[in-house]
């Protein structure tokens, strides 16, 4: 137990060091950082304005009013930004495999999965995350969506659960990166698929909705937490979501072990 505690502190320190190194690297390039930050804010604001304009005119979207649609979008951003903030290493993973530099990660006294996922932390995402969280708190406090204490509790549990599903999906992307050197933008496909959760998944046809819940669980990631907060998700679905994330995480770790065994150390 003592040893385990020590490990957690070691990994926290390593993560902190890597985060600070990444932050310093970003600071050397302030011009680029400013543009990226501006782009992220602009993308968020313009899509939000678009949703308000659209649902403001139509009054409802798949049965949801404008405030509810906005809340779905805010929750999508919350899950999306936290996972990008913590798991940015995945975006830089493939070159390690192609060049064989992954060998250096394997030989270090650190869990290679941890190193691969968290070797880069995007501090710019943290800068966008803080105002977003404040906005969500303000949004809820001003009563724009009706909720209860249980709803808030379910929301927090399901956001955490969504992050576990996101972690599992990022691990799967890493595994495919190890197994094939051909696919270099799988993470962007993941991003595009999760982007389908910017709006409530109820707008999609049943077969697509099923796909987005059971196969690539974008619904569990992005839509379920907001639905739970608004009291629109039964406890059975909450349990299902937690079960699904456990299965996904377990499966992804098994897949990672399988992929590692097949790493060929090409080019090194």
């Amino acid at each position: 137990m003592k040893n385990k505690k020590f490990s957690i502190s070691k990994y926290s320190r390593v993560w902190w060091r890597m985060t600070m190194a990444g932050f310093n690297a970003d600071l050397t390039n302030r011009f680029a950082a400013a543009f990226f930050l501006m782009g992220k804010f602009l993308r968020f604001s313009l899509f939000l304005a678009f949703l308000i304009l659209l649902v403001g005119r139509t009054q409802t979207l798949a049965g949801y009013n404008v405030q509810q649609v906005v809340f779905f979008f805010l929750t999508f951003n919350l899950v999306d930004i936290i996972s990008q903030f913590l798991l940015r290493g995945v975006y830089h993973f493939r070159p390690l495999i192609v060049t064989g530099n992954f060998d250096f990660i394997l030989t270090k006294p650190l869990n290679p999965l941890f190193s691969s996922l968290a070797r880069r932390t995007d501090i710019l995402d943290l800068l966008t995350l803080i105002p977003l969280v404040l906005y969500i708190i303000f949004f809820l406090a001003s009563g724009q969506v009706v909720t209860t204490l249980t709803g808030i509790l379910f929301y927090l549990v399901l956001v955490l659960n969504a992050l576990l599903v996101a972690l599992a999906l990022h691990i799967i992307v890493l595994c495919i990166g190890v197994l094939t050197t051909e696919v270099d933008h799988l993470i962007w496909i993941y991003r595009d698929l999760t982007n389908m959760g910017r709006v409530p998944i109820d707008i999609y046809r049943e077969w697509l909705r099923g796909f987005l819940i059971f196969v690539i669980p974008v619904g569990v990631l992005m839509t379920f937490p907001a639905k739970a907060l608004m009291g629109l998700l039964s406890w059975q679905w909450v349990l299902f979501s937690i079960g699904l994330s456990v299965i996904f995480l377990w499966g992804s770790i098994r897949f990672w072990r399988y992929a590692l065994n097949r790493y060929s150390s090409a080019s090194s």
Binding site: F31, A34, F35, G39, R57, L61, H185, I189
Partner: protein, 265 residues
């Protein structure tokens, strides 16, 4: 001309080296298309009109944008920035090859391939989802749509080159302004929604900027929503922007070359 034909063929063949990679790239486009398709289908129920669009016109717009985007916005000229940053530009300056023509040829190869796959994807979407669509029968409007697509294509080419040339002055930072530009483009070119749903003053102001002439304007010509005068006005503004960007690219390239040090060579 022969050498550019070879450049075209080589660019085309490059995609078939990593076939799975390229096909998966297209999956991204389908995912983006499905979000917009279902969003607008849910927003405008059958028989209703929102923002002056019924479901048929809006779904035609969304699918049409996807096709036009695959041609107008498909581009390889983003790589010009890396040529400048790595010093590879020197290789081109020494060759008997027009640098802009070289990249335009690569762009065209990229556009044709993307367009062909987009047509297949949209055909599948139509086959599976059976959306109500507007099929333009007027040859006159179809011709004008092609003309507008041509203007948009050349405009985007110069736009893209100009952005890449930031690398002359800031070789490590050329991607971040492009990132910002792509976000602005997504909203103000009409890729997400038809621009005429915006408040009147905003829409009228936008019509003097280059963005609408990339996607929104060609699609509106196709849908038959514009009068002859409006089409003429749109084509004229688009051409003025093409001319301005052409001059800006020429000027910036000459200025950039004076600053270029073939760093890393």
């Amino acid at each position: 001309m022969k050498k550019y034909l070879q450049v075209f063929k080589i660019t085309f063949k490059e995609y078939f080296v990593y076939r799975l990679n390229f096909l998966l790239w297209r999956v991204r486009n389908v995912a983006q298309l499905l979000v917009l398709y279902f969003l607008w289908q849910a927003a405008i129920p059958e028989g209703q009109t929102v923002f002056g669009y019924d479901q048929t016109k809006m779904l035609t717009y969304i699918l049409g944008v996807s096709i036009i985007r695959s041609f107008v916005l498909a581009s390889r000229s983003v790589e010009v920035a890396s040529d400048i940053a790595t010093g590879d530009l020197s290789n081109f300056l020494l060759k008997p090859l027009g640098y802009f023509r070289y990249w335009f040829t690569r762009d065209i190869a990229d556009k044709i391939l993307n367009f062909s796959l987009a047509v297949i994807e949209i055909t599948l979407v139509i086959f599976i989802l059976h959306p109500p669509l507007v099929f333009q029968k007027s040859l006159h409007l179809l011709f004008l749509t092609l003309l507008a697509v041509g203007v948009g294509t050349i405009l985007y080419f110069y736009f893209s080159l100009l952005l890449a040339m930031i690398a002359f002055w800031s070789p490590e930072n050329s991607w971040s302004p492009r990132f910002l530009f792509l976000i602005v483009l997504e909203f103000f070119a009409g890729g997400l929604f038809p621009l005429d749903i915006l408040p009147g003053l905003v829409f009228r102001s936008l019509s003097f900027l280059p963005f609408p002439y990339l996607l929104f304007f060609p699609l509106n010509v196709y849908l038959g929503k514009l009068t002859s005068g409006e089409i003429l006005f749109g084509l004229s503004v688009g051409l003025v922007w093409v001319f301005l960007f052409y001059r800006a690219v020429k000027f910036t390239f000459q200025l950039g070359l004076k600053n270029y040090t073939a760093w890393g060579r």
